[in-house]
Structures are given as structure tokens and as C-alpha cells.
């Protein structure tokens, strides 16, 4: 990494006046129930921010000069005021990228979306065939995504994104994902699976194997300049001389944060848990107060200890990995990443008993119906 870039990373660790990457989950309601959903979405929360409250948050983000936001859910298009909020945000000079499973993008909506400026769309897809994808995202979700992509292409939307969460079952499909994205004139985005939300249970069976980590690193190094990653693979940087493209740091509470559907502000999208809740946009002072002055964010912007990793020569390369990934498998925050390339994470997970694993909070999963067909053909084991 160049000296200037290292210098910049050090400054970014001290926090910014406003986030660069703000994710806003608009609703916990979702038509799907993916096994790795980081917000355990399914049912709408009755405390959801109203249209007026959401617009007030957008006014605040405008004043803070937040350039763009990432909208997600749940399925954000389920909200009746979805287009109203989208248009309001863009009119306030806040660009929007929203993540969707595509269920609600028909030909008419695709044309409406194509007519808007400063808008990016990210279609979630976790397999290049229905079997691989639907095992994680639910039956029919592959066809749903492809249908939406066809509508966007036919409407002339331009370059949308195809967003893939890496599992051990789709690592071998990276080239096919790239070809699929190219065929739609879309950009590929590949991000790391975290043990957050419902992922707390499914992660242990779905996360890439140790051998596959090398495969991911090599592929991203070869293709990384044209593929977005949310800078989420920096825990693999010690695998080679060359770091992966992007910022090599955890942005939580420093350049990144999450606003959840009821207005609670968390350090990042992968830590919906009281320990990482900094406040609420409904509190006095609103979002700006939370971002600038909350105890949690202040603490996260202070120099962090390398802890158990301080004697490892690779700490500068991997920065100890992802805070959220450690937290939900019961590893101390200054311990190794569960997917540490040297296998230290495996040992740390074994040292932490299952009882040490914090349970995700804010579970909005749909109640399990008696006699209902199995949601997904994936074995969800608890180790």
C-alpha cells in the first residue's frame, strides 16, 4: 500500500464529519426469507419510521452533505412510500443505491426507475443457477431476479449491479457471475458472508472453506478493478504481497453506519445488536448527534488494540479482520477473525463455547407455520 494511502487510512480511522457509506434499511418486511439475512427480516416492524420521519432524516443527511445512501431492507420496494422517498432523496441531492430481490420490478416500474437520475440498483443473486441461488434465497428467487434484470435492460436503465454474497457453494461460479453481469451490461459486486442476523445460524455451514479463501483472493486480485466488493475482504490481504483493491480497514462508526427501519443507528450493517447501537434518529439531536457525539462511535474512532493478533506479522495486512464476524461467533473483538487465513479463528471459535455467542437482536423472521413446506433445502446445523 502506498504511503499516501496508509496516511489516509490513518485519518479515516479517526472518523469523518459525516459517513461516506450509509446504509438505511427502510423496512424489516420482506417477501423472501434468505438464510443469511443480516437483518433477520421478514415481518414489518410496527415502529417503522413514518414517511415524514424518513423525510426528516433525509433533510438531515442533506445538511450533513451525505452524497449518497445505500437503501436496503428487508425488501425496500415493499414500502408504499418507496418511490416517494426515492424521489425526495434525489431531489435533496442525495444519490441512492438500493438493494432489492427484484420481486417488485415489473416493466412499468423498470421504466420509472430508468427515468430517474442519481440512482443505482443492486439485484441480489447468490447463484448462477436456480438450485444454488434458491437454496439460500428461497424458491423462485432466481427467476425473480432474472426477470427484474430483463425488465431493467429492456427499459434502458443502464448499468445496474448484481450483488453476490460469497458462500462455499458459489465460489466456483465467479467467472459465470462475471459473464452474467457482462451479458446484462451490469457490474458485479461480491461481498463477504457474515454470521449476522439469520446468518448467525447458517454461516457455519455456508462460509467459504479455508482452501476457498485463496481462490477468492486470487480471483479478486485478477478481476478486482472491475468488481465491487464493499472493501469486505481485507481479512484475506495477508494471503499475498499485494493487498486487494480498496480501503484496508474496518469502517464501522468511522466512515460507515446503519440506520435500521425503526431509526436505530448501528456501527455497520452487520452488527444489529444492542452492543453496537449508538442511538436513534428519533433522539434529540437526530442522526447528526449520534454520528458526531455518541459514546460508541467516539470509542470506535480511537486507536484499536491488536490484542491477540499483536504478535502476528500480518496484522498490518488484515487489521484483525471484521468486528461483526468475530462478535457473532463469540470471539473477543481484539481476537482473530473467524476466517483468519492462518486458522487462528478456528481455534478461537473452539475456545469460545456456543454459550458465548451473542444472539442477534431484532429478529423479524416470520413465524414458522406448522405443516408449512421447509423454507430452504439447507441444513442449518448448530455446532
Amino acid at each position: 500500500m502506498s504511503a499516501t494511502k496508509t496516511h489516509l487510512v490513518e485519518k479515516l480511522k479517526g472518523g469523518l464529519d459525516a459517513p461516506i457509506c450509509l446504509t438505511w434499511e427502510l423496512t424489516y418486511a420482506c417477501n423472501l426469507e434468505c438464510v443469511h439475512c443480516l437483518s433477520s427480516s421478514g415481518r414489518r416492524d410496527p415502529r417503522e419510521l413514518t414517511t415524514d420521519e424518513a423525510k426528516a432524516v433525509l433533510d438531515e443527511l442533506h445538511d450533513l452533505q451525505v452524497f449518497y445512501i445505500n437503501i436496503g431492507g428487508g425488501e425496500p420496494m415493499i414500502r408504499r412510500d418507496f418511490f416517494e422517498l426515492l424521489e425526495y432523496s434525489i431531489a435533496r441531492g442525495i444519490g441512492v443505491k438500493f438493494s432489492t430481490n427484484g420481486a417488485f420490478i415489473d416493466a412499468e416500474k423498470a421504466r420509472r426507475l430508468a427515468a430517474m437520475e442519481y440512482l443505482d440498483i443492486q439485484i441480489s443473486l447468490d447463484g448462477t443457477d436456480a438450485v444454488t441461488n434458491d437454496a439460500v434465497r428461497g424458491e423462485g428467487s432466481y427467476d425473480m431476479a432474472i426477470r427484474a434484470m430483463n425488465h431493467l435492460r429492456d427499459a434502458g436503465f443502464g448499468e445496474f449491479k448484481i450483488s453476490v454474497v460469497v458462500t462455499r457453494h458459489n465460489v466456483d461460479q465467479f467467472d459465470e457471475f462475471k459473464a452474467l453481469a457482462d451479458s446484462f451490461g451490469a457490474q458485479l459486486r461480491i461481498t463477504r458472508l457474515r454470521p449476522s442476523g439469520r446468518g448467525a445460524d447458517s454461516w457455519h455451514d455456508l462460509h467459504p472453506t479455508q482452501a476457498q479463501q485463496r481462490q477468492i483472493y486470487d480471483w479478486l486480485l485478477a478481476n478486482g478493478d472491475n468488481v465491487l466488493t464493499g472493501d469486505s475482504f481485507f481479512h484475506l490481504n495477508a494471503l499475498g504481497e499485494e493487498p486487494l483493491p480498496g480501503l484496508n480497514m474496518c469502517g464501522a462508526g468511522r466512515v460507515v453506519c446503519l440506520i435500521d427501519p425503526i431509526g436505530d443507528v448501528y456501527a455497520c450493517p452487520f452488527v444489529i445488536h444492542d452492543e453496537f447501537k449508538a442511538g436513534s434518529v428519533r433522539d434529540e439531536g437526530g442522526f447528526a448527534q449520534v454520528w458526531k457525539h455518541s459514546d460508541l462511535f467516539t470509542e470506535l474512532r480511537e486507536p484499536q488494540s491488536a490484542g491477540a493478533c499483536s504478535s502476528c506479522g500480518s496484522y498490518d495486512a488484515c487489521q484483525g479482520g471484521c468486528m461483526a464476524a468475530k462478535f457473532f461467533v463469540g470471539i473477543p473483538l481484539d481476537g482473530p477473525d473467524p476466517e483468519c487465513i492462518y486458522g487462528h479463528g478456528e481455534a478461537a471459535m473452539l475456545a469460545a463455547s456456543a454459550g458465548d455467542r451473542p444472539r442477534p437482536m431484532m429478529d423479524h423472521s416470520k413465524p414458522v407455520r406448522v405443516n408449512a413446506p421447509a423454507r430452504v433445502p439447507v441444513t442449518i446445523g448448530r455446532r
Binding site: L8, K11, L16, I20, Q65, F67, Y68, G93, D120
Partner: protein, 100 residues
Amino acid sequence: MNADIASNALLEQRLALHPQVALRPEPFGALAYHYGNRKLIFLKHPDVVRVVQALADHDTLADTLRACDIDPARWSSFERALTALTESEMLHERHQDPPG
């Protein structure tokens, strides 16, 4: 093209912030965001921010650097920083006279 010629040319150029670019002050300098091409660039020194903001008030980049009291010994680093900003289309060439 020879790099020296290119940078000399930049000094004589009449530059301005692209109308689709927003600058946000930060402790280290500023963030520049281009709403058109969606690029985000870090301006890593407050003096670079000062110069970029003053461009439209002066004829050429050289005039701006002088007006902002930038030591000539540092001009080459400013040229490099502003070349990068030109390449990412954060800055563009003005064609009209500066206002006033």
C-alpha cells in the same frame, strides 16, 4: 506528450470545479463527490481545498496558486493533485472569463 509540458500546460489552464461536484469539508481536507460519474476523491490537504475553491476567481492555476500564497516549492505537488482531479473530471477547463 512529455509530462513536463503537460504540467506546465496545466499551470496556464483556466480551471474550475465541475458544476456536478460537491465538496464536503473534513478534518484532513475535503471529500469531493462527482454526481455525474459518481467518483469520490479525497482532497488530502486543506491548502488543496483552498486552491480548488479559489480557482474560479482567478485567471489561471498559476494565478490561483500565487493568490493563495502557495510556496512555489510546493507547486509541483499541487500540479500532481490537480492533474488527478482533472482526470477524474472533478475539475474542468473554463471557457468564459471569471466573474467580476
